[in-house]
Amino acid sequence: MVVGDIETGTELLVIGGGPAGYAAAIRAAQKGLEVTLVEKEDVGGTCLNRGCIPAKALIHAAGFQKDMEHWDEIGIHNKGLDVEFSEVQEWKNDIVENLNTGVKNKLEAVGVELMEGEARFLDDSTVRVEEEHRTDKLNFEKCVVATGSKPVEIPGLEFDKEGVISSREMLNLEEVPEELVVVGGGYIGMEAVTKFCKFGSKVKIVEAEERVLPNFDEEVVENIQETSECYNDEIYTNTKAFEVREGETPVLLANQDGEEIEIEGDYILVAVGRETRSGLKSVDLENTSVEIGENGFLETDSRMKASENIFVVGDAAGQPMLAHKAYMEGKVAGEVAAGENTGMDAQFIPKVMYTDPEVAVVGLTESDAREEYEDVKVGRFSMRHSGRALTTNGGDGFVKVIASEENQILGVTIISDRASDMIAEATLALEMQAYLEDVIGTVHAHPTFPEAFQEACEDALNKSVHT
């Protein structure tokens, strides 16, 4: 017990200022609740500060470097152009800071009280918030737990070892490494590959499973591997990393099909997944009536409630650990806390991977659909036939639509530049229970990327004009 605790109260306490937490705080404040948000680092959480946003900024910059060859091809001669990586980083940091300030301003504008510190539960209605120079005891009526997740650490490859980094440090490297070893062939790993390969690094991938991106259809993986040399540079599959030998350059020791191998690189990036437990433990959740499930998540109902007055949102509430899911959950929790009758009932959550070309998937994949339905219709449109793709030096990848026998759209897979944008229309179509004819009957502007979705729908009914 800290002497001199100051006791205050709030209607809604939000622990964690990432996408889920700040969305919950802002929404609840908009609905009239008195809200206090406790964040121990920066608002915006992993996504804004150490994940999606800085990663995409770097991928964007890396793209330019890669494109220089193409510029020459189309007559924009760029000899003598110079890439200063530290300035790229500065630019990226500006974006993060900009967004960060935006979130802070919004929190302030709607009247959310922001406390910088660490919250620890004392019981189901009290936390102690340890700030830099003081400790406050805070009573709450309702609480939203949005403690997020952290990169998983592998024994032998601890992050405190020299040269071993997580996605967080990767985004703040001061210079482009010559050689980068990525442990984990999932999408975080593959996005890292995208960035550094384009900046000119040699990237080596170590994956324990048979193939990289084990959770994407083989077709997807094959397609992006065919398209870009980045993803088949040096891939070690069926390889388990177990140790890093520190030295001038770190060396990864791994076991490939029973044989011990050594892989060297300037950095060993460990990107094998994210865990939620440490975040939940750090807030002394055991002092509440809420229990952490075996999988490290907290179980909630559709209103994001884990107990009568404790809500859980974002990564801590379960898979998929994606910011867009977190936003939606945060908003639902904020509204429910304010007494609104709402719930988290999004039926389709798209997943997007910023590889080159991008991959985006929503709903069922073709193989899932075939297992589930006797007859499915599949429509496909190759980006090679897209006028817009060709005018942007694209043309790789495809759009695939899977529909039921009755033509109801069941899933969409897109591999293409701007797949991350195109998936929005597909997700809307799915949530709207759309049929192939609905998309076909909607005029799509030309020349654009999303036309490909319409064409794929037409192809499913064997009436595509352009393929």
Binding site: E209, R274, S302, A346
Partner: protein, 540 residues
């Protein structure tokens, strides 16, 4: 579907379940009478909410059931696996959309939309008194029901569930789960199952350590939440109307649930709500803030602990009728400014008149029809006694119709059947009406709307005994006339003491609406007519 004990209006929040008219396994049609319960002051029939097969009867004769309690599981051939979520939702809603004690009165209107909510699946749903419901229900227990994985089911049922891939804990059934329920769930839950299977697709590339495994196992995508064939705006609309969307039949392509389907379902419930709202001043329909209720519960517990019966004190459970009477009478005394005006009427001539004609009439002709007629005539002159005070709009609502409630003592307690349109009925019709309603009140056969508040009340306590008393106004009325016993008294007529038949009339009126002078004039008019019964007989 889970069939909840319907709200029968008039502030009824609970009742005693009397009997089932169907058995488990029976097929029922929508609106078929499936059971009977005693609520408020009547025995009410319980109609089936939809066509279907009775899977389980959850209420037993003698049970006290509250509005919203699930009394029957009805297999309507619709999805049931998701109902758990839904009904949980509505329960939670109750807890989350608080209405405090203070603002309840003012917010009857606004609570309307909320209240139809809880009534999903009940045909005559309207108000919902969470207050009372919470009083005796362990709310935490209720909330946790659907959270806990514990379910009651025989091993063979569990096995069946496993075979059919039905998650028993997700059925949201409080009691024992039967094979039928599992079959029903498996029949309709196909979509969800398959969606769930397909949910295992999203996970991150890992390098095969233990932590990752658990993560991957748990990885699921959105489809796990159960697939509903309705677009987001429609799902939102359903939530707003507190409609369990899985219980709505989709009229769209491939059974898609459309906006209209939801509005139609909502409209049906609204209609029921409106109907009952026409009967003014019901019980509070608000829901209490859960915290508040809990606190009140505690307070009540503490208070009641002090007077727990022991020794020679016997605790007798209050019947539904007793509770309603207690509540309503206290409410009336709290709100209305009661004054009782007492005066004697010489009804010697009326007694003679009645004696002379009663044998000509088939119906049992009491004095009541005469008194009612006299009251109507007087109310025409003094309409404020036939009115209702609308405090919200500061208006006195004078009623241009004459519906009287007549207090009837029955074995079940005090009943107040309503006799309508007194002004347009003749004496014989009134006599027949009174006889009919009184005997049905005795039998407990009155429909609830037959006891809704009319415009004025008469209580004839005198037939049992008592000269004068101070009746309590039946809210939201403004006056009630009490009739003492008719007796022979010594009266002075023209300077001589003579025996006369007299009766004491006790008029309680709400001084907020009616002043003493007007009450006295009203009484004078009533007495004048009773003393000169030929005035009354004209329209016989």
């Amino acid at each position: 579907m889970r069939f909840e004990f319907p709200d029968t209006g008039e502030g009824v929040t609970e009742g005693q379940f009397l009997e089932w008219k169907v058995n488990e396994g029976n097929e029922v049609e929508e609106d078929q009478i499936v059971g009977e319960a005693e609520t408020d002051k009547a025995v009410v029939d319980i109609p089936a909410p939809a066509d279907g097969t009775v899977s389980e009867l959850k209420a037993s004769p003698g049970d006290t059931v509250k509005v919203g309690d699930v009394i029957m599981i009805l297999d309507t051939g619709e999805g049931s696996a998701e109902e758990a979520n839904g009904s949980e939702g509505s329960e939670e809603k109750v807890a989350e959309e608080p209405e405090t004690e203070e603002n309840k009165e003012d917010s009857e209107e606004s609570s309307e939309d909320k209240t139809d909510a809880v009534m999903v699946g009940s045909p005559s749903a309207s108000s919902y008194d969470e207050d009372e419901k919470e009083e005796e229900t362990d709310s935490t227990n209720k909330n946790s029901e659907s959270d806990s994985g514990d379910v009651l089911a025989l091993p063979k049922v569990r096995k069946l569930a496993e075979e059919k891939g039905v998650d028993l804990s997700k059925l949201g059934i409080d009691g024992r789960i039967t094979e039928e329920v599992v079959m029903e769930a498996s029949g309709s839950g196909k979509v969800q199952e398959s969606q769930e299977e397909s949910g295992e697709e999203e996970s991150e590339g890992t390098s095969g350590k233990e932590t990752e495994k658990t993560e991957r196992d748990s990885e699921t995508v959105s489809q796990n939440m159960g697939y509903v064939n309705a677009r987001p705006s429609v799902r939102k609309l359903a939530r707003e109307h507190d409609i369990e969307i899985s219980m709505v039949d989709g009229s769209g392509r491939n059974g898609e649930i459309t906006r209209d389907d939801i509005l139609k379902a909502a409209g049906e419930m609204d209609k029921n709500t409106e109907q009952e709202d026409n009967e003014p001043r019901q019980e509070n329909t608000g829901e209490d803030e859960p915290e508040k209720v809990e606190k009140e519960e505690l307070d009540q517990e503490e208070a009641s602990q002090d007077i727990r019966p022991e020794g020679d004190v016997e605790g007798v459970e209050m019947s539904g009728v007793r509770k309603i009477t207690a509540e309503r009478m206290a409410q009336s005394k709290n709100e209305a400014a009661h004054v009782t005006h007492i005066e004697k009427a010489d009804i010697t001539e009326l007694v003679e008149l009645r004696e002379s004609i009663k044998s000509d009439v088939d119906a049992h002709l009491t004095y009541l029809p005469f008194i009612m007629k006299a009251c109507v005539a007087a109310l025409r002159d003094h309409p404020d006694l036939n009115s209702e005070l609308d405090t919200e709009h500061n208006e006195i609502l004078r009623k241009k119709f004459y519906d009287f409630n007549i207090a009837v003592d029955t074995d079940r307690g005090l009943m107040v059947p309503k006799i309508e349109d007194i002004d347009s009925r003749n004496m014989v019709e009134l006599a027949e009406q009174i006889a009919d309603k009184a005997s049905r009140a005795q039998e407990g056969d009155l429909e609830r709307d037959e006891m809704a508040p009319g415009t004025f009340s008469i209580t004839n306590l005198g037939v049992i005994g008592g000269e004068a008393f101070t009746p309590i106004i039946y809210p939201p009325q403004s006056a009630i006339l009490g009739i003492g016993k008719i007796q022979e008294t010594a009266e002075v007529l023209d300077g001589e003491v003579v025996p006369r038949k007299t009766v004491m009339l006790s008029l309680s009126y709400d001084h907020r609406v009616v002043d003493g002078a007007e009450a006295a004039k009203f009484m004078n008019k009533v007495i004048e007519d009773l003393e000169n019964p030929k005035n009354l007989i004209i329209d016989m």
